[in-house]
């Protein structure tokens, strides 16, 4: 049989136009790259590349601005949603989203996150939950599962010593200003496709002035978890998803 010809009309999938040529600094297999790609695709599909401001956090994805070719602001640790609030209020025609890890959004930035959601700011928070502090070397996050070993819970997270993990998505769902709260993952191709649809919906809703959206992405940190990328995806399914179940948590039509 003939070979598939490498030509434009046969093209099914290519690197998104808005993903830069910079090689990402993330570890091999890290979920960040996959989520970045989805964001780049959605912005382009919505035709908003010239009207988007992204806000990057402190954490591994601090350098998100090197990888998606839009204007960015790098916020202080935890403050991304305060930064985003001002940009959106001052430039309502702009798509404003934050990209934050679990340490950033749900530990040090809890106040900024909850209040941006409560006010119903028309911004989107993309919330990467991998249950660990990746950048600083794998310490316990507020999302770290009970029993999970990290650099600061070397014998496993013990609730008597370290407290319990919490689900900020479910907390936010109680807030009137938060109108779309969903939990996704990117550990399998089908999940990646669903996650993209969720990001697209969230971005569209923010542009329609429908209030605050949170897209939580249950993610891997294979370096922090000390597993191979493929084993991390399996561990995620077996351990993370029972505690952080996937699906829409709230959607106000």
């Amino acid at each position: 049989m003939a070979e598939v010809e490498i030509k434009q009309e046969n093209l099914v999938y290519a690197k998104p136009r808005l993903i830069t040529d910079n090689v990402m600094h993330y570890c091999p297999g890290c979920s960040h790259g996959t989520v970045h790609k989805l964001i780049a695709e959605v912005i382009d599909e919505l035709g908003l590349a010239e009207r988007t401001v992204g806000v990057s956090p402190v954490g591994c994805s601090v350098f998100a601005y090197n990888y998606i070719d839009i204007d960015w602001m790098e916020a202080a640790h935890g403050r991304a949603l305060a930064v985003a609030t001002a940009v959106k209020r001052l430039k309502p025609e702009t798509l404003v989203f934050t990209y934050q890890g679990d340490g950033d959004l749900s530990a040090i930035g809890t106040a900024e996150s909850i209040h941006a959601a409560a006010r119903g700011e028309n911004v989107v928070a993309i919330y990467i939950n991998n249950a660990i502090y990746g950048m600083t070397g794998g310490q316990m996050a507020p999302t770290t599962l009970l029993g999970m070993k990290t650099a600061t819970t070397p014998y496993g997270r013990d609730p008597r010593l370290n407290g319990y993990p919490y689900k900020i998505a479910e907390m936010m769902a109680h807030l009137d200003g938060a109108t779309y709260i969903t939990r996704q993952s990117v550990h399998k191709p089908a999940n990646v496709r669903k996650c993209k649809a969720a990001i697209k919906k969230a971005f569209q809703r923010s542009m329609e002035g429908k209030g605050f959206s949170l897209v939580e992405v249950v993610s891997t940190c294979n370096s922090g978890w000390k597993l191979s990328p493929v084993a991390s995806n399996e561990w995620l399914e077996q351990n993370m998803l029972p505690f952080y179940p996937l699906g829409d948590i709230k959607e106000v039509k």
């Binding site: 690197k15 790609k37 990646v192």
Partner: protein, 75 residues
């Protein structure tokens, strides 16, 4: 009988050899190369090219956007 066939092009220097694409391929087309790229990573490659349907699962999940997918219908 018409048959859909696919193929992929891997940006070998961008690839970090994480293997997530290999695990995600429904047709077991992919493997990691026995040779390493400039950064020391074994890039993804098509081990069984004839089995590829061009479904793009590998490219969709690739964190580093290094897989381009083509697909063609043969009558």
């Amino acid at each position: 009988m018409a048959k859909i066939k696919g193929t992929i092009v891997v940006d070998k220097e961008r690839c970090k050899g994480c293997g997530v694409c290999v695990a995600s391929c429904p047709c077991d087309v992919l493997s990691l190369s026995s040779e390493v790229n400039g950064k020391g990573y074994p890039a993804a490659q098509m081990a069984v090219p004839d089995a590829c349907t061009g479904c793009a699962s590998c490219a969709v999940i690739c964190p580093d956007s290094c897989i381009t997918v083509y697909r063609q219908k043969f009558e």
